[in-house]
Amino acid sequence: MADSNAAATGAYGTTGSYLNTPAGGGLKSWLTTVDHKKIGLMYGAAMFTFFLVGMSLGFLIRLELLQPGTQFISARTYNSVFTLHGVIMIFLFIVPGIPAILGNFILPLQLGADDVAMPRLNLMSWYVYMTGAVMALASLVTGGGVADTGWTFYAPYSLNTNTNVTLAVLAAFVLGFSSIMTGMNFITTIHRLRAPGMGFFRMPLFCWGLYATSWIQVIATPVVGITLLLVVMERTLGIGFFDPARGGDPILYQHLFWIYSHPVVYVMVLPAMGVISEILPAFSRRTIFGYKAIAISSMAIAVVGYLVWGHHMFTAGMSDTARWVFSLLTFFVAIPTGVKVFNWIATLYKGSIEIRVPLLYAVGWIFLFSIGGLTGLANGALATDIHLHDTAYIVGHFHYTMFGGAAIGMFAGLHYWWPKIWGRMYNEKVATVAWGVIMVGFNMTYFPMLILGLMGMPRRYQDYLPQFANMNMLSSIGSWILVTGLLTMLINLLRGARSGPPAGPNPWGATTLEWQTTSPPPLLNFATPPTVTTGPYDFTEILRQNNVEEGK
């Protein structure tokens, strides 16, 4: 029994793997846990299950678009397929994303704390997430079928269509609460539970990324919450705000929707940027270049990100003044991102590079996200966007940023922290091959979309003109390669967790606090609560040790 363990070790939860604490606890011990590590893993299990569903839907989309004409999905069904693909990938996977899995697991460890500030709220956030997820998936099998509005649920179509918009939108509303709870928890944790000696500017950059993200979650999510609630009100009670037939303005819906949905892309990407900031110092064996600049840029991205939402609406019917104002503001948000990219590259420059799988993902990330960011500039410029809006170019752009940015960042983080989480290492050769396949497949899937958009192919269409056929076929074949790489990566990780060779406390030789405890960590994370005396990426001690060992 757990208590006799406590008597034996003298300090409950400071030794022994968290996976076995309490010993012999089955499913129930997981479902009633308040341990941030287990909660992170429960999020992971759920989210990757839904990711596979969303990925399959994406696969089906590309299969339909393999050739012109109808392959096997009607136009009406196609609308539902891409709607559900978007809803699952965005609300069930990439928005909870890194914070829910890696943030939950790693944040307290990096801060030197024993858990988040509100552990029970943390568990509740998982249950709220599962409720929303079940509701979203229920829309597959109930009533009028999956919503066919696109994940953006634009009025007035979303107010009138007979498909399950109400259920899908309520699901998103519920999921928003989960996001808010996580944000509240992380802000409080970062404010209150940092180890002695860890001022804000000694915090790891992953924590800074989570901090900026959490503020966006708290401030922006309620706006989409009320907007989606109003859609439900209008569909069920006839309280009209967005229906032009009742004097409403559909563009107002778009304003309210994008006031959240633009900042949320920074919720998706800021934690990924945090992961990159962790990996690069570790595999360059030197401190990050421009720590303060990166930390402040994270907050700057969050702030400026609130100001640019109108760039999703350049062709919707806003005033000319609004359009150029938003276009100008959009260019500003690229600046702190650029600062980060330059600092990362400067970190690598003349560093002692060790090429391991996490570094491959990090470098691949910089490549993919840079393409995403640069194509974003073409969209942000008012004149070019008139041509590009609602074309396949946009689809390419946001997959480069959301998939190439947020998701690849998550994969990078998983490969970096996997040995810490399980105490076991994955097969690095297989992981490297999987990475290569993903990189090839990814670019082969999404780069053609950039070309197709420039050529004029609209998005969200089940069919296309013959001149778009070659690029579409290339993209669809790319998607098969991409899926192969993704599945290989996931299976390799799972096998490593189960039966990989044991990993020590610090297999990468990194400097942040999570590597100063065992792999896996004990229940309360540290045998003795740590005290911090240096910045987070101080390699002097590690390099000194290496020199001693080499007899220099």
Binding site: V34, V218, I219, P222, V223
Partner: protein, 213 residues
Amino acid sequence: MSTESAPAIDQAHGPLVHHADPESGKTGMWLFLFTELLLFGGLFLIYGVYRSMDEPAFHHAAQELNRFMGVTNTIVLLTSSLTMVMAVSALQRNQVKRSLGFLTGTLLLSATFLVIKFFEWSAKYHHGIFPGKEHLHELPWGEGLFFNLYFMMTGLHGVHVIIGMIVMTVVLFKIRSGALAADNHGMLEYTGLYWHLVDLIWIFLLPLFYLTT
């Protein structure tokens, strides 16, 4: 080692018995209040937009509302904020009976608010001005939007009043049982913060709907 940032952990009682750090709870509560601010904020945004598009319609529609009831409800809520904050102070000073008295007063005032609201809405209903009713659809667009906003915003506010009353009742029982006391009054304090926000939102609703003529 400073204990300012590390929570006290009770080693003897097993995993993660966090003694709630008061500043953590307060931080969490304020963050929650920010979400409420932004939730209602979206509705204020809609109000602002539609009013700017048809100011005369808003003025005309507002005449249908009962200013006396609106002002009375304002006084009721402001007083309930007073009784709430006095309940918190009383508990902090370990004056349990006084705290329970003021908390009960807050509950009674909240109920009064809801009763007045009920009469307001019933009157509208009987005039055919209610979501789903024909007359609302027959009104000019600007006036229809005014009333939709009225019902949505006072309705959402009313839901928050009801939730507040439920939480207050739970807190009432906890104080009576001793679970909440002078040295452990966080939950009452946070309930107070929530309640003041409910009041704050109302004092903005008052001029927007009842004093717009």
